[in-house]
Amino acid sequence: MVSAERLAMPKPAKFTGMFRPNTGQQLRLGARSVYILPTGFGVLWLLAVALLQVVGIQLQSNGALMMSFLLLGLFLLAMHLTAFNLQGLEMSCSAPPPGFADAPLTYPVVVRSRCHRDQLRIAFIQGASVRENTTVGVTDQEIQPGQSLLSIPWQPQQRGLQRPGRLRISSSAPLGLFRCWSLWEPPMAQLVYPARCEGPVAESCSDAQGNQANLNAPQSAVGHDDWVDLRPHRAEEGVSRLYWKSLARGRGAHAKVFAGAQPSELLLGLQPGLPKEQALNHLSARIWALSATAHSYGLILVATTIAPGSGSRHRDQCLMALALLP
């Protein structure tokens, strides 16, 4: 019997506040963690039962009575079958891959089932309602026996380590008379990069000496083919550009300033004068665009600096720094 299932108001989606979500790394759906209520169609079905009862009584017809009892029997049966469709299902988190705040993310959930399950609808509830009518299609899927990995779409609201909120897993199979559901808050957070949004970013080139050249300086002007000038050497610049002759001549340490055709290494930063989030979005877009080319780039944030580099690991590191900027 399903007596342990808590019954409450008939509009589950609107009254999500009343239903306590399950928490924990892993969830095994049992009689105590699923809710079940008849759908609107189920109520209509009961009306049909009543109608056929009246016809059967009025005409003293066993045929109509039998039909109404059949519908009633199916109703009773469907209640349990719908609950069974959920019960015994095990869900657990797996490490979620990072993603951008502007695109729908997928959150991986590992589902284990001993038996075949009919169409299950698995979606995150955001705000007050299930995202059923958005473009991120909520589809019903059947679960095969064994273990399977589901990717559940959700739309993050902001950057950072975000938890997608409540997962609602529901089913109305086999007849659509009942909707059985359960809520789960997966504890594992997903890393969300700032949304990508084209716009100005603070750029600086690190010149041969590691100097931050003037913003908007011609990018190809500073290289290391031939040195054109000298400037005082700083300890952190290392020895590769030290002008040994001047040091030997006792004129102090100078560093060579090179000029050449090679692109300089770009350092990106927050555009001053813009709100922080917007500036982060611009940076995110720029990094995404640069990572598609062979350019190397670095990042200077408030307290962090990431030396120029390229490749996907470097990109992810930069994006993570953006995401986690307090």
Partner: protein
């Protein structure tokens, strides 16, 4: 058009095939027709899931209404099929439309089977109530006995070979042919030519008010005789004249007529008990009308009657009439033609002497009244074919062509006595059940006819045990279950439902799990069994791939089959999860391989031979 929509159209089409059979005199039949039109419109328009759901619920409701209108076995089977299709379409909506029709039908069949115990418990134990209000019912033209005996009225009916009633007996023994008289009506009013019922005679409600004594005690014993009568024109039903009806909507009038309180346009199923008890209506003294005789219209008959009245005792007057009938050259025919002249009964008895049961009964009854013996005409059926059923037992098949008229006379010491003058003139008509002189050929045996009769027998049982289960049967059942503690029925009902669920649900889960996990494994086991028959057995610890390779070396002729077997099974079992169709396809492939293995010879063919 999507699959579930096609299923619903099919169900609607099946229901439409039942339409010609429904009786438009019932207001409900128009309701059913309107519902069907509505469903068709809805199906045409339906796009969304909830609309399609609702249209399949509408289909189920129509099926229920149809079950009320057409309770026969044939329509019931069609209704069952419709239910199956409507459920399949609901399943298809819920489970995604990609499933095969066969899978869907299988699932809905399992669902129906699982619901069956619940239906049975509800059907047997949910307390029955009587109709909430009475609906006036329309009349439609239908063949059957009318409430008057006019020249030719029965002769017309004899030409109609449609079913009138079916009778089954608890002891499976039909009465002998000469005792198969099924009375429907008594006619008292005589105008010199035509017999009619008395106006206002035997109304059901009048009987209920006067509570006509012992004649209408409700029977409570076991059912000894079961009747299934086709719709009639009149609110009266055929019966044997013996026993007590088990149905509260049936009463026996003082004239021995079975009055029906339900609309006559329904097919009526009813049972009798206490068949051996003496019938009380036989002792009810005659009405004044039983001696009414219009003087002067049939002078010769009147003279003959007066002669007997003056010379003989009442019982001897009946014997005298029999002797007189036998002495005259009467001839039996269903086409007697019109009786000439102003004295029609005289003309028959003394001039043409050619007639049919209605003429014989009319002449005899008039003669008895002229002779001072209270007499009346009884209309009903005589005969019926005994149809042995394949599974044992049988039923008596009474048709409209068995319509008959006979007489009853009141003898003070015996009560009402049945007299059938037709039997004197044409004994064969009574014993053979054939209007032989009518020029009809006796019913021939034909496979189609035989199948039809068998089918009608199964239909009778279906109606008798399922459709005929009524409040009285239910009370008897509850009495047997609970004795006098009727108030416990609610508890018993809920407990039985819970028990059914507790049995059915684990069974469903178990079969589902078996089907899920082991459809493939079962096929593999069958294949291995077959290989064992060929002398090929896996070694302990040997895996399938290795075994198949080794077996393929032993039997090079089977190498291809074995290789495919191993690949199919291993891919399905250990490959990435695949949709249900794919798994079924793999099972089918294994089945095909097993068939190939079965065809393989027991020993490898010798390539040198």
């Amino acid at each position: 058009m999507s699959g579930h929509q096609r299923l619903q159209w099919l169900a609607l089409g099946l229901l439409a095939t039942l339409l010609p059979a429904i009786d438009t005199g019932m207001p409900l039949s128009w309701g059913a027709i309107c519902l069907m039109a509505l469903t068709a419109l809805k199906l045409r328009e339906a796009r969304s899931r909830s609309e399609l759901r609702r249209s399949s619920l509408l289909l189920l409701v129509i099926t229920g209404v149809m079950a009320a209108l057409l309770p026969g076995l044939g329509p019931s089977l069609i209704q069952l099929l419709t239910t199956l299709l409507a459920l399949s379409s609901l399943l298809a909506l819920e489970l995604g439309g990609a499933l095969q029709v066969r899978t869907l039908l299988g699932r809905s069949l399992r669902l129906l089977a699982a619901a069956l115990p619940l239906v049975l418990v509800l059907f047997l134990l949910v307390p029955r109530v009587g109709p909430i209000w009475t609906v006036p019912m329309g009349q439609t033209a239908r063949t059957g006995l009318s409430d008057r005996l006019d020249t030719g009225s029965i002769a017309d009916l004899v030409a109609v070979d449609t079913p009138a009633a079916r009778i089954s007996f608890a002891n499976e023994q039909p009465p002998p042919p000469e005792a198969r008289y099924w009375r429907v009506l008594t006619l008292h009013s005589f105008d010199g030519q035509r017999w009619e019922r008395l106006p206002g005679e035997d109304r059901f409600d009048a009987l209920a008010r006067s509570a006509a004594g012992a004649a209408n005690q409700q029977g409570t014993g076991a059912r000894e005789q079961f009747w299934l009568a086709e719709p009639t024109l009149l609110p009266v039903l055929p019966w044997s004249g013996q026993g007590q009806p088990l149905d509260p909507d049936l009463r026996i009038s003082p004239d021995g007529v079975l009055l029906n309180n339900r609309p006559p346009i329904e097919r009526r199923a009813y049972g009798f008990t206490d068949l051996s008890a003496p019938a009380t209506w036989k002792r009810q003294p005659p009405r004044d009308a039983a001696l009414e005789f219009p003087v002067g219209l049939n002078p010769r008959l009147q003279a003959l009657g007066r002669e007997w009245k003056d010379t003989l005792a009442p019982a001897d007057r009946v014997a005298a009439a029999q002797r007189w009938y036998l002495s005259q050259p009467f001839r039996y025919t269903t086409k007697p033609g019109l009786l000439p002249g102003p004295h029609p009964v005289d003309a028959f008895l003394f001039d043409t002497r050619t007639g049919f049961c209605e003429h014989f009964a009319s002449g005899f009854t008039a003669l008895m009244r002229a002779a001072g013996v209270p007499a009346r005409i009884v209309l009903g059926y005589q005969g019926g074919d005994w149809v042995p059923q394949v599974g044992g037992g049988g039923y008596l098949d009474v048709r409209q062509s068995d319509a008959h008229a006979w007489s009853e006379v009141w003898l003070a010491d015996q009560g009402w006595v049945m007299v059938d003058p037709t039997a004197w003139v044409s004994p064969l008509r009574i014993t053979a059940g054939q209007p032989v002189s009518a020029g009809q050929t006796p019913r021939q045996f034909s496979p189609l006819g035989w199948t039809l009769l068998q089918w009608r027998g199964i239909d009778l049982r279906w109606t008798g045990w399922v459709m005929g289960f009524n409040r009285q049967d239910q009370l008897a059942l509850i009495e047997r279950l609970l004795g006098k503690r009727h108030e416990w029925i609610g508890v018993v009902l809920v407990a039985s439902l819970a028990l059914c669920l507790a049995l059915v649900l684990p069974l469903m889960r178990w079969t589902q799990r078996r089907r899920d996990a082991d459809g493939l494994r079962r096929e593999l086991d069958r294949c291995l069994e077959r290989l064992h028959g060929l002398g090929l057995d896996p070694l302990p610890g040997e895996d399938l791939g290795h075994f198949c390779r080794r077996a393929g070396q032993q039997r090079p002729d089977l190498d291809g089959v074995l290789d495919e077997l191993a690949r199919t099974y291993l891919r399905q079992r250990f490959g990435p999860a695949q949709p249900q169709e794919e798994r079924q396809a793999s099972s089918q492939r294994l089945r095909r391989l097993r068939q190939q293995l079965s065809r393989a010879p027991a020993a490898a063919p010798n390539p040198q031979a």
